[in-house]
Amino acid sequence: MARDPDSKVVRPFAFFRAGVQSDPSAARRPILVFEDVYKYFRRDQPTLRGVNLTIERGEFAFVTGPSGAGKSTLLQLVYRKHTVDTGRILFCGKDVARLKPKSIPYLRRNLGIVFQDFKVVRHWTVYENVAVALEILAMPKRLVRSRVAEALERVGLAGRGSERTENLSGGEQQRVAVARAIVTEPALILADEPTGNLDPHLAIDILTLFEEINATGTTVLFATHDHSLIAKRDHRIIGIDEGRVVEARTGLRSWPGAEERAASDPASGLHAVAG
């Protein structure tokens, strides 16, 4: 797809606070590093226990585990909905836990976040829902129009900008959310169960969309508990169980205990892969 040359003009946003110079060496570091991260919502029961994890630039990684395992918490710590209790999370080499509240918006401008419940404003048009991410960056209207049109085209909603979002199907609403997440060309996309409210066919469509986005160089962290979805792809898998990380590098085939689980729970989706 041909890019509008103007789109290079406003390539964003200082990382932490406007006016702060970014560190050139950050480009060589992993995009996201978790160092011995603990998060407690109850004193006696940590949600995350000593998470150590490195996400390289351009990676596509599934974060999986049962409900309540800590997948969403892991992502929420990255975009500073919550703060780590101990340990560090380095995004582009910067510790996000040490950001002052005023700097959090500038962190989020470098992230694209997609949720299970879409989080689109239903009474806004498709265009307004996507454009809001650029308006926050005070981008000129002409650029906003071209960037939104491009993002909508990438998610398969070209020419539907004027439709009210509430009139779209669930899958289409999630595409709007994805368009909003990618329109700012973020370094990292955090997808928190983005297929959770979609039927299996649409879930595959959305997963494919994230893979296409990843193919352009954007790092994607895709949280899901749907093993049938993970089984269809061969991306890196980061498993979380009771707050601890169990990793597999190359899909479910090498997942610890995959054989046993597939045998005991054919519905888990492991069967097809492990078999």
């Binding site: 946003f13 975009y79 909905k81 005023k102 918006p105 500038y106 962190l107 989020r108 401008r109 470098n110 992230l111 976040i113 989080k119 689109v120 404003v121 239903r122 009474h123 806004w124 829902n129 809001v132 991410a133 308006e135 926050i136 960056l137 005070a138 909003r180 700012t184």
Partner: protein
């Protein structure tokens, strides 16, 4: 975020919550109308007080049977004073004629004999003569043989001054109450709007909006509500004033010799801008706790 974007988002918010804002604006307009009404009353009472205070008159009533020489001496004394601009002598007959000319009373009083009305010297004082100086002149003149009594009209003026002070106090208390009421109403209206637009705020915050970006349009909406309420109150008051002016003017002119006046332009501007400022403050305060996402 630039002003144009804030304005655009505020316009959209006002459009989406039009009914809610109309209810708030009409309630607030009533409150502002009370303040503006009291201000109008105080303004006109001040004009009356100023007119009376500025008139600087003094009536020196002569004793019955005062000797012409004594009266002449009295005139000389008065005319020799720096503060006295003119002295006019009124005989009993002149006083009776003036009374009948200026009063609406009917024939019963017209039968009164001239002796009922004391002869006097009507003294006109220079503008700016202090109250103390008037009192001192009154005391000095009062001790002269030809003088029965001296009327400086201070009693009336003091009573009006007291009324004015009370009016100003009421206006101040009312303005404070209205300010609190505006803060509460606008704060609650914005809170309702925020609750209805929570999803929108969450989306913006997750996309990296600063508190200022989120707050801006709401503050603008609060400002508009305050501004519109005060403006509506001023316009309603102006309409009422235009309709009632004829009746009020006749009464006030007969009572004090002044004409009714509307609020000064600076007061109107202060009322409308004050409304806008309180509206902005109300929405800014109410938003503080809703921005954590």
């Amino acid at each position: 975020m630039d002003f144009k974007t804030i304005l655009g988002r505020a316009k959209r918010g006002l459009r989406e919550e039009l009914r809610l804002y109309l209810v708030a604006v009409s309630s607030l307009a009533v409150a502002f109308l009370c303040v503006a009404g009291v201000l109008l009353a105080v303004t006109n009472l001040s004009a009356v007080a100023e007119r009376w205070g500025r008139s600087g008159r003094m009536s020196v009533y002569l004793r019955d049977g005062a000797q012409p020489d004594d009266v002449t001496r009295l005139r000389v004394v008065l005319e020799g004073m720096r503060e006295v601009e003119s002295v006019e002598q009124l005989t009993s007959e002149d006083a009776r004629r003036q009374f009948l000319e200026h009063s609406d009373v009917e024939a019963d009083l017209a039968a009164l004999p001239p002796e009922v009305f004391p002869a006097s010297l009507e003294v006109s004082l220079a503008e700016g003569t202090s109250v103390q100086r008037v009192a001192s002149i009154s005391e000095r003149i009062g001790s002269l043989r030809a003088v029965d009594d001296v009327e400086t009209y201070r009693g009336w003026f003091d009573r009006l001054d007291g009324l004015l002070s009370a009016g100003r106090g009421i206006a101040g208390v009312l303005a404070l109450l209205v300010a609190l009421c505006v803060l509460a109403v606008i704060g609650n209206t914005i809170r309702l709007a925020v609750a209805r637009r929570r999803e929108e705020i969450e989306v913006m915050k997750l996309c990296g909006a600063t508190d200022g970006f989120v707050r801006g349009p709401f503050v603008m909406e609060g400002t508009f509500q305050g501004f519109a309420s005060a403006l509506v109150a001023v316009l309603v008051l102006l309409l009422g004033f235009a309709l009632l002016r004829g009746h009020l003017d006749a009464s006030l002119a007969a009572l004090s010799g002044t004409h009714v006046a509307f609020l000064q332009p600076w007061m109107l501007v202060a009322l409308v801008l004050g409304g806008a400022a309180i509206g902005a403050l109300g929405s800014a305060l109410s938003l503080r706790r809703y921005l954590t996402v």
